[in-house]
Amino acid sequence: MSDHTERLYHIFIESFLPLLKAGVAFTIPLTLVSFAIGLVIAFVTALVRISPVGPLRGIARFYVWIFRGTPLIVQLFIIFYGLPSIGLTLPPFTAGVIGFSLSVGAYGSEIIRAAILSISQGQWEAAYSIGMTKRQALRRIIVPQALRVSVPPLSNSFISLIKDTSLAASITVTEMFQKAQEITARYYEPMLLYCEVALIYLVFSTVLSHFQNRLEHYFDSKSAKKGSLL
């Protein structure tokens, strides 16, 4: 038994660095880049969905419907393995970023849309009353307030995304989870490796949630402090 423990210990130590490396080299950049682009898509989609332009709105709705309704892995598959048949052969990382961004965009647009709708009508009216155009009102008055509202739900999405990036293994990106499986294949210790990789994910999400809190505080410092609610 002690032999076994020692073996596990060794595997743990030996695999830690490669796992961390894969995390830092793929999981984290894939998450950050996809989330950033996804936010932009979410944002534009949300704006289109509340705009008065009918056809565009239809397209946005369709996009959200498809990308929320189908599994992310299928989306990645089609982007990476399907698009070459129409002459578009994307590198794995790029394909991953596109797939994850579109997924974040679809879920995120619903969040941002709800947030924009939650800003009181009075804010629009006040903006219009000082002569702003709709665009100016959105940019200067509505969106900054909506962003604050959407920080918590968006960070839920973000934390999910960190882990969802493991799907990139199917499109030849050796991210952290795939790395763990590689090591498992050598030592036949899936439970150990899974726990180890879970630990690293946990650290990642904890650090990133920490930024979420900082962001919330930043926004809060820009307006009133609410009293305790209970």
Partner: protein, 249 residues
Amino acid sequence: GNNSSNNADKNNSKKQTLLQQIKDRGTIKIGTEGTYAPFTYHDKNGKLTGFDVDIAKEVAKRLGVKADFVETKWDGMIAGLDAKRFDAVFNEVAATPERKEKYDFSSPYIVSKAALIVRKDNNTIKNFSDLKGKKSGQSMTSNLSKIAKENGAQIVSVDGFNQAIDLLKSGRIDATVNDSLSFLDLKKQQPNIPLKVVAEENSGSASSAMMRKGNKDLVKAVNKALTDMKKDGTYLKISKKYFNEDVSK
């Protein structure tokens, strides 16, 4: 850098055969899982290695090109071949009739025995015929499940070899019919693992390299490389390196 040559690939696809394209670009792109020891896996230093990998490398060498491995999950491996992201797949693929409808296969480069694996303390299952009514963990992606089924086992569907072992260890299944060579490797890694092989069957499956249909010259070239390396002893060397025996039959 597995995509740097895609443009050349596209431009020439009309005029040239795949074999010529491969030779022109100087690399053959090979899809493999990289998580299946000892056939395709990573060594201590993280380098891709294994029996299938070495065979593929040797084949490439004999084609006069470099082997460029792309690793992905099993589903991606197939889709990648379809999408022309790879030229061939070396990953213990058995050439079943259904698959032959869609792909061309090389001549077999390995024949593995089917091993009946049970827990050490199990004294009721001694032979394949004892599987009747017992739970056997089988990967649906392999044809070993057929053997279990034919012997009347109740099939529990698993992802792969590792999962079958986990299920067996935790007592969730009674047995698994699996690759004897994989089990050997497992034993090497974990000498104390409380599992044993109670029977082997010679009618194990043969695995081949898998290629898209319509590339006869590539298949021919691969077959020639395989025949040549068997003749000149290179194959045996690789076979001994991983299994201490000749696995060609």
